[in-house]
């Protein structure tokens, strides 16, 4: 009975997973997005007239990366007179402030210092001084592609209703297994963000280089603490108020991903906890036709996948545990002996329908990754270490923070930034 119920549940979860994957894929191709990126060339056309832009860089203990972040902003292909950079030290305890002071006299840069109060307070301090038409933020552990800003400006110019534009985020360096996994994950994100933008269903405006029409802040207010995920809350608030969020899939931003499992766990716990709690704060976005595909499909299934991932991991651990126990029992019963090594016939291959469906889900994921790589400006190798590591390990490790985030929400416990 339990086994049958588990089987039906697995089929149901697989159906929804495949359905959503197919829906995203159809949405991606809606506007013929499979054109090659031009990341090595300059932006094909310059929007005119170019608006003034301010980029806020909130920093808290970013001594190792802030300088490179600033230099990447200074290297942007954008009129110098129209681009301002606000460096805001949020009470760092390392040498971040000293490093920021090296830019004191730079004509494009303003530096601010405040007591530590959280990233949203640093951003809000910057917003108080912004006078430009467009404002963006860039985390101090991220670096922008020289053409990113111009490309994103084109999106603003193409659609006057777009109030925010998100970039294509990529992992800066893949020098550890965790970063390798994130590399594939972020490329998958490039695809999903583009498809999400086509549906106007984005619910995150990532800290690394999301741009906004400044007027949006006077319409819906500044950043909030928002369970330490102010970028998610702000996007949900925009969606709640009916404002459009766009995406530019060839505006590359490179971010330094957590190197170790422990660091990744902390980051993702914060994100997942933030998603659950912000979604709770904006529960009106769920199953609400007023919010289109976002309300009907994207928000509900984003929450569904969180629990589905926990469910699948539970099933996997249960199955592996059962097999391991069988192995131990066999060892105890007959001791170690070399099994019959003659090749099994085709008869003994698992050909359950679930295997084929899982294969279809994986194949589509692989296809999405390949497209993600292509539009992410990388060589679209089908099988590569990042893809393999992602497909093999991501589900298992994501369970760790999914379970922890659900637990912390239920137990009303807060998460930490780092």
């Amino acid at each position: 009975m339990t086994s049958a119920l588990l089987t039906y549940l697995t089929y149901a979860v697989l159906f929804v997973s495949l359905y959503v994957e197919v829906f995203y894929t159809l949405s991606f191709f809606e506007k013929g997005n499979l054109s090659s990126p031009e990341n090595t060339k300059k932006s094909s056309r310059h929007p005119k007239p170019l608006p003034n832009v301010t980029i806020l860089v909130p920093c808290w203990n970013e001594e190792t990366t802030v300088k490179k972040t600033v230099h990447s902003l200074l290297a942007l292909n954008y009129p110098k007179k129209k681009l301002s950079i606000f460096l805001i030290d949020d009470g760092s305890t390392d040498n971040t402030w000293e490093i920021m002071q090296q830019f004191t006299n730079h004509p494009q840069i303003c530096i601010f210092h405040k007591d530590n109060g959280g990233k949203h307070t640093a951003l809000n301090l910057g917003l108080e001084h912004v006078t430009s038409e467009i404002v963006g933020s860039l985390d101090a552990d991220s670096f922008v592609h020289p053409e990113a800003l111009l490309r994103m400006m084109e999106t603003f110019q193409d659609d006057k209703d777009v109030m925010a534009v998100t970039p294509a985020m990529k992992i800066y360096r893949t020098d550890s297994l965790m970063r390798l996994i994130q590399h594939a994950e972020y490329l998958l994100g490039v695809f999903l963000r583009k498809a999400g933008a086509n549906m106007n269903a984005l619910y995150v405006t990532p800290g690394p280089f999301s741009l906004f029409r400044t007027i949006i802040f006077s319409k819906i207010g500044n950043y909030k603490n928002a369970h330490l995920t102010e970028d998610m809350e702000f996007a949900m608030r925009m969606q709640h108020n009916g404002y459009k969020i766009g995406n530019r899939s060839d505006a590359y931003v490179y971010t330094v991903g957590p190197k170790t499992l422990r660091a990744l766990y902390k980051q993702r716990l914060r994100w997942t906890y933030g998603f659950i709690n912000n979604a709770r704060d904006y529960k009106g976005l769920f199953f609400n036709p007023k919010h289109g595909d976002l309300g009907i499909l994207i928000m509900p299934t984003a929450m569904f996948f969180l629990f589905a991932a926990i469910f699948f991991s539970g099933v996997a651990f249960f199955t592996w545990g059962k097999d391991a126990w069988k192995g131990i029992e066999q060892l105890r019963a007959v001791g170690f002996h070399i099994p019959d090594l003659s090749l099994p016939s085709w008869f003994f291959f698992n050909t359950d329908a679930m295997i084929f469906i899982t294969a279809a889900v994986l194949a589509l994921t692989l296809g999405i990754l390949v497209i993600g790589k292509k539009i992410g400006g990388e060589k679209p190798h089908i099988i590569w270490w990042d893809t393999l590591s992602f497909l093999l390990l991501y589900g298992a490790i994501a369970t760790l923070w999914n379970i922890a985030a659900v637990y912390k929400t239920i137990a009303s416990r807060d998460v930490k930034w780092r």
């Binding site: 009916g242 919010h291 595909d293 029992e329 329908a353």
Partner: protein, 237 residues
């Protein structure tokens, strides 16, 4: 600002058709392969049936032919091959699958037939093979059945002269019911193993079982030379 949100109903429908199509295709392929498996099993059962008939005929002709000409090894291999396939099918489709149940009933009958025939041939030719009757349950009420299955698989693989006949106590076949009552096997004493004239209840370790084998068999052969097709067994549940 007015809401920019749209519901793409056509896309929902198209996604549903594609997803449904993938499910339909997956289930169709799986069922097709299942049908081929059933056919393969039926083909093995037909072979066994034919071999039993052939052996019976040979036995009836014993007066005319020599005992040396009766070859029962092929039948043993086929029964083992069938056992492992049925076991796999049962794992895949579940014990309540009608097709699997039917094939298993037929297999049980052939085992009984083979067991009786071997006994007869043994008496006539003075070379009765070592037969082990094993009664198990896969209703979740026999915690040691799986372990006993491992032991009997080991014996089957390492002692080709041993014929293991495994019966699901709950198969509901009158012939199996008769054989269980013949050896006094009851539901609450599973697993039960009948070897020679002894009926043993509960888990019997590898050492105990090996100790019950005749000395002549106690030279484990190289398993790679046996043609037993798999390490799986129908005896475990």
């Amino acid at each position: 600002m007015s809401s920019q949100h749209t519901i793409h109903w056509q896309r929902y429908l198209l996604a549903l058709i594609i997803t449904g199509g993938v499910f339909w295709l997956a289930i169709s392929i799986s069922n097709r392969i299942h049908d081929e498996r059933v056919q393969e099993i039926q083909s093995i059962e037909n072979n066994i049936s034919m071999n039993i008939l052939s052996l019976e005929t040979q036995f009836d002709l014993l007066a005319e032919v020599s005992c040396d000409e009766i070859d029962n090894t092929i039948l043993s291999k086929e029964l083992n091959s069938l056992a492992s396939r049925l076991d796999y099918m049962e794992q895949q489709r579940g014990k309540d699958d009608v097709e699997v149940e039917r094939l298993k009933e037929y297999y049980s009958l052939m085992q009984i037939k083979d067991y009786l025939l071997m006994k007869k041939i043994g008496k006539e030719c003075g070379d009765e093979p070592v037969s082990i009757l094993y009664f198990y349950s896969n209703e979740g009420d026999c915690t040691d059945c799986e372990k006993e299955g491992y032991v009997l698989t080991y014996l089957r693989e390492n002692y080709p002269g041993v014929r293991v006949y495994a019966f699901d106590y709950h198969i509901g076949l009158s012939a199996v019911n008769t054989i269980t009552s013949l050896y006094g096997v009851t539901e609450n004493r599973l697993p039960a193993v009948v070897i020679g004239r002894k009926t043993l209840y509960g888990f019997q370790s590898k050492e105990i079982m090996e100790g019950l084998l005749p000395e002549s068999l106690k030279k484990p052969t190289d398993t790679t030379n046996t043609t037993t097709t798999t390490t799986k067994t129908t005896t475990k549940k």
